[in-house]
């Protein structure tokens, strides 16, 4: 049984890992690469089903455990079904009720919610900066010091232009050096992780027996 449950999946990892590596290096296989890329997305196509199943299970359990909060689960499912139906039938349609519903839901529910949660960052970035400022460590003070100069420099005018110049220097010298050093390290770390996976050294993703 171990063959089917562990060894064969591991062989799949190794074979497809080597395939991916070779496809990058051999230009002659480009047309196969295009096919393979398409093929890989097919695998994802059905994964959404288990996602939805997990969400459903989660909410059913919640309804059982906290019946007073079941209204939120009902909200989730009704909006899920309405949006799924509207998008399925309305996205590719030019007109019709589904298309109108899809468009309105997308433009006036999906997009504003997305943009608003994103905009919460305006508050969070301020509070994070404030906290870093209060922290006693010289490191976070230094981080905030550089950050403060750049914040000022981005909006500087007139006599404050010195901040503008300092900003330019910070962004083009220390930031470049730090980011570059980190990128190189990350690159090597990712490469090592990939190779560990392909060699079968790291296989926790395959689970147990």
């Amino acid at each position: 049984m171990s063959l089917w449950k562990r060894r064969l999946p591991l062989i799949c990892t190794i074979v497809f890992g080597i395939m991916g590596f070779i496809l990058q290096l051999v230009p002659a296989f480009k047309s196969f690469l295009d096919i393979q890329n398409q093929w890989m997305t097919i695998l994802f196509g059905f994964a959404i089903v288990i996602g939805v199943a997990s969400l459903t299970k989660y909410h059913f359990k919640k309804i059982r455990q906290k019946p007073e909060e079941r209204i939120f689960s009902y909200i989730t499912f009704s909006s899920l079904i309405v949006m799924a139906v509207a998008t399925l039938f309305g996205m590719k349609a030019e007109t019709g009720i589904f298309n109108a519903l899809y468009k309105n839901l997308f433009d006036y529910v999906y997009v504003p919610l997305d943009a608003t949660i994103f905009s919460l960052l305006a508050f969070y970035i301020t509070s994070a900066a404030f906290r870093a400022f209060k922290a006693s460590s010289w490191l976070s003070t230094l981080l905030l010091f550089a950050g403060g100069i750049v914040m000022l420099g981005r909006v500087a005018f007139g006599p404050l232009m010195v901040f503008g110049e300092l900003t330019q220097w910070i962004m083009s010298v220390p930031t470049v050096a730090a980011m570059r050093g980190i990128k190189i390290g990350i690159g090597l770390g990712m490469m090592a992780t990939s190779i560990k996976i392909i060699l079968g050294i790291e296989r926790s993703f395959l689970g147990g027996e």
Partner: protein
């Protein structure tokens, strides 16, 4: 001498051919269209790329527009790969053409490209063809621009082999302390003391992101630590595939500690795939369940700070780590401990202590040391304008 004669012959043939063609259409144009057309295999590709060069030799008053058409296989309407309208500005034009572009067929079955230049009118129509050149292309079996990657991998494998062999013999490697990971036990312990759950967010990346895989590798030792204290561990996910893997990893972790009873597949759950819907839902969970420790490890984008700040708001210890360089500053500012950059990828070896994985960490260090030496050599050579390193080894 021989070569000179050949060239003379070719030139005279070309000229006569040009005149012959011109003679046919002489009544339409009152000048001789002239130019130099070259088509060359681009090389280092799958045999579908050609470079086409055209140098008009008519004055702009004579010919204002040319039309360049590139075909694959042969000149025919169906085989047209690309066409360009060229305004005669008395310079050399270069075009990168893919012979595959307009083809419905996915496989290249022709290895020949034909370029033809026409005199064109104001409307952009072809009036008269006057130059045709063709070339055979070939697919290459190795992309020479990526040689350094191949060498890097080979070198790394060599080091891995050496150190794993040593590790198997029982040599113990030193690994320096990584502060964020040292705190892991404390974080788990504190959450247990407070009787609060632990949240582990494996980022918002899919399995195609190496950082996500690194995070799932860390989840294994984290689960084992959590299992010892029997503290609830929750793993919300943005990707169903990552969720599946995380479920298996957590289950395996509990089993390894002899606590399969603690595993509940509902604790490793899927929320939504939308970035900010996920961020909003997770921060809602943070506020309601008030976790004692929050792990944010994996691929994060702009929403990183939403997690970090709400977790801080409810008093959780946050241990974060990501490979997104633009998000690391936010984690450093907002979180208690941050794994910077490559520490994230080293964490699984650090935590598990598996000699094989530690061996690869050592190999990674050696590869890095070699790259530093190459960097030095490159810089010194570059001062003397020798670009051997930048051109062949560390390509742009």
């Amino acid at each position: 001498m021989k070569r000179f004669v050949y060239i003379l012959v070719i030139i005279s043939l070309l000229f006569s051919a040009g005149f012959a063609e011109e003679a046919e259409n002489n009544n339409e144009l009152d000048f001789t269209p002239k130019g130099k057309l070259e088509i060359k295999d681009k090389g280092n590709d799958d045999g579908t790329g050609v470079n086409v060069f055209f140098r008009p030799q008519n004055k702009p008053e004579e010919v204002k527009y040319y039309l360049l058409r590139v075909y694959y296989k042969s000149v025919s309407e169906d085989n047209l790969a690309a066409q360009y309208r060229i305004e005669n500005k008395d310079r050399r034009y270069k075009f990168n053409v893919s012979l595959q572009k307009r083809r419905k067929h996915p496989y290249p079955n022709s290895r020949k490209g034909v370029a033809r230049v026409y005199v064109s009118n104001e409307k952009g129509e072809a009036v008269k063809a006057f130059l045709t050149e063709s070339t055979n292309t070939s697919a290459s079996w190795f992309n020479i621009n990526k040689l350094s990657a191949f060498m890097g991998v080979l070198l790394f494998l060599l080091f891995v082999y050496i150190f794993i062999k040593q590790a198997r013999r029982g040599v113990e490697f030193f690994i320096r302390k990584i502060p964020g990971l040292e705190e892991l036990d404390n974080a788990v312990g504190r959450a247990t003391e407070l009787g609060k759950p632990i949240y582990y967010i494996p980022g918002i990346g899919t399995t195609s992101r190496i950082a996500t895989l690194a995070s799932l590798n860390i989840l294994a030792p984290v689960t084992r630590k959590v299992a010892k204290f029997a503290t609830p561990l929750k793993v919300p996910n943005r990707d169903p595939v990552v969720m599946s893997i995380a479920q298996d990893v957590v289950k395996e972790g509990y089993m390894a500690e002899g606590r399969p009873d603690l595993f509940n597949s509902n604790d490793v759950f899927f929320l939504t795939r939308q970035q900010f819907a996920f961020a909003g839902a997770v921060s809602g969970l943070f506020k309601r369940e008030k976790p004692g420790a929050v792990f944010l490890l994996g691929k994060f984008y702009a929403e990183s700070l939403i997690f970090a700040e709400t977790a801080n708001d409810v008093g959780a210890i946050q241990i974060a780590g990501t490979d997104s360089v633009s998000q690391i500053p936010f984690f450093i500012a907002a979180c208690d401990y941050t794994l910077i950059g490559e520490e994230l990828f080293a964490a699984s070896g650090y935590l598990s202590g598996d000699p094989l994985i530690v061996g690869t960490m050592k190999a990674q260090d050696y590869l890095k040391a070699i790259l530093i030496v190459l960097l030095f050599i490159g810089i010194i050579l570059n001062i003397f304008d020798i670009d051997i390193i930048t051109k062949y080894i560390l390509q742009r």
